[in-house]
Every structure is written in structure tokens, then in C-alpha cells.
Amino acid sequence: VALAPEGCRVKARVGLLLVGLALVVGLVALLGSGFGKDPHRLPSTMVGKVAPDFALVDLDGAPVQLSALRGTPVVLNFWATWCMPCKAEHPLLVAAARARPDVRFFGVVYGDQPDAVRRYLAKAGTSYPHLVDPGDGVAVDYGVAGVPESFFVDRQGVIVHKQAGPLDAATLTGLLARLETP
């Protein structure tokens, strides 16, 4: 008779322990799933949306309006001369722009001086125009968090992919293939 309440108490204590254990395991799993992920890799909220329009001027003073390019696939590469990965992917983009004249490539200068960009391009060479973005306003419109970031815009003016970080040759070729509409 005296054992009954004692047994109940033990059962309750084991239940409590299990609930606590489940809570701890759940919390560790939740934190563990985020561990190792880059907190700066933002969700691509812009993919599938119409690319925000802009009217910018390139380093030579020629105006460029995105909406006027509707019907042509566009690649926008946000970059800066102080950004090493940007410089690493630069030759890749130069070659791709030469190989794919049906796609319009643009560099968008991010947080950099036009003169610094001109000096770099004089040495490194380029095959596409680079746009000056005063106050990085267009970068904010595109949700750019850091450079390099590249946006692939299809003929309808819709962003089909956002590449955060540098591109490699295989990725770039694959993404350019996606811009071709049947």
C-alpha cells in the first residue's frame, strides 16, 4: 500500500526527465542544424522577381537603362577592386561575355572609386561595360549584402539566379545555359 505513491512519484520523475531530455535534444538539433552554415548567406528573396529597373552611367559616361534591354538576357556582376574574389572571377566573366554576345554583361561598381576601377580595368582588361552606382542604391535595390554577387536576368526581365560569392567556370556556363529561352 505504501509503495503505490512512491511508484507514482518515480514514474512522474522519469517522465519529467524524458521531457527535459527531449527539450535538450531538440534544442541541440535546432542549433546544430544552423551550425556550419554561413550566416551571411541570405535567402535569395529576389529570385523569381522582376529585376529592379535602374538608369546608371558606365565608366565612359554612356547611360544604361535595364528596362530598355527587355528581350535580352542580362548578367549583372556587383564587384569592387578591393574585393579579391571579384578579381579572381573577373577573367571568367570577360571570357564569358566574349563567348556569349547574345547576353549583355554589366559590372556594377560597389563601394569603390571609378578611378580605381578604371586603373584596374586598364591592366586586367574587360569586354563589357561597368556601371557607376552612386551611394550603392542599385545594390540595395537588388539585396546585395557583399561582393561579389551576380544576378542572371532572363529575356522577360526576371531574375532566375542570384550567385552570392565568386563564380567558377562550370557554374557560369550552367547558369548562362539557363538564360536561353526556347
Partner: protein, 160 residues
């Protein structure tokens, strides 16, 4: 008639909406001193995307400077705080808000700590309440139960 033609031409030139925030119409422009305060307050709510847990207002990074510039621009154009925050969420996701919105799985963050503390406190109180009557069992019902003979003597002397 001239004004109508100009308006029609303008409408044709901007077939989408023309405004900086698609689908949102700005209100009247605020007074400059109000705009200063509002822009500063909004910069405290937005996360600097390239920093570690810093608000846009607390960072000198390129991205934070660009954010502050755009916030000020949108405030000056007459957009509301809600519209401006939505503008950034639209482009960067909920991540860009320092306080995650209380919806969906985010409720865990808002309610979880309070719930856990409350539960722990309830268990601690229950355990304390359970321990007391156990210790008192078998002793006299009057006065507090003191087991230590030295303490008993001390209390007795204090009573005198």
C-alpha cells in the same frame, strides 16, 4: 490638354509603377527634423548585412552606409516606417530585421525562453513545497520545526 498629354506620356514611360517601392504609394514628405529622427530609429531596427549582429546605425561598413542612405531617401519621399521595413525584407528576407517578426516558427524565439523559465520556476516551487511538509511530518504542529539541538537552545534563549 497639354497637362493630360504629359501625364499620359509619363504613365506610358513608367508602365510598372515608377516609385521606388513597387505597389506602394508614398504619403506627404515629412518635416526634415522628423525625417532625421525616423531615419535614425529605422537604422536601429535594420541589421547590417555584412556585420556580426550589428544594427545599420552602429556600423560604418559600405553596406550600412548604403542602407542609411536609402532609408533616408525613402523617409524623405513620404513612405511609412512599415513600408520602408517591408522594402528591406522584400530584398533581404526577415534576416534583415534585428527583431524577427513574431510569426511561424519565430514564435519559439519569442515565447520559448519565458515558457522554459516559467516551467522551471513552477517545478522548483513544487519541489520546495513538497520537501517542507515531509520534513515536518511527525513533529509538533506548533512553531517552526528545528532539528539542530544547538539551534533549539539558541531559539529558546532568544525567546527569554
Amino acid at each position: 490638354v497639354k497637362a493630360l498629354i504629359v501625364a499620359a506620356l509619363l504613365a506610358l514611360a513608367a508602365p510598372d509603377d515608377g516609385g521606388p517601392i513597387p505597389g506602394e504609394t508614398p504619403g506627404p514628405a515629412p518635416a526634415p527634423e522628423d525625417a532625421d529622427l525616423r531615419a535614425a530609429a529605422l537604422s536601429k531596427l535594420l541589421r547590417c548585412p555584412v556585420c556580426q549582429g550589428l544594427a545599420v546605425s552602429d556600423s560604418t561598413s559600405e553596406a550600412a552606409v548604403a542602407f542609411r542612405g536609402r532609408v533616408r531617401e525613402l523617409v524623405d519621399q513620404g513612405y511609412t516606417d512599415r513600408q520602408i521595413l517591408a522594402f528591406f525584407v522584400d530584398r533581404y528576407g526577415d534576416f534583415i530585421l534585428l527583431d524577427p517578426p513574431a510569426e511561424g516558427l519565430n514564435w519559439v524565439i519569442w515565447v520559448g525562453p519565458g515558457l522554459l523559465t516559467g516551467t522551471a520556476l513552477a517545478f522548483a516551487l513544487a519541489a520546495a513545497a513538497r520537501r517542507r511538509p515531509q520534513g515536518q511530518a511527525g513533529s509538533d504542529q506548533t512553531g517552526p520545526h528545528v532539528a539542530d539541538p544547538y539551534e533549539q537552545r539558541l531559539l529558546a534563549e532568544l525567546d527569554e
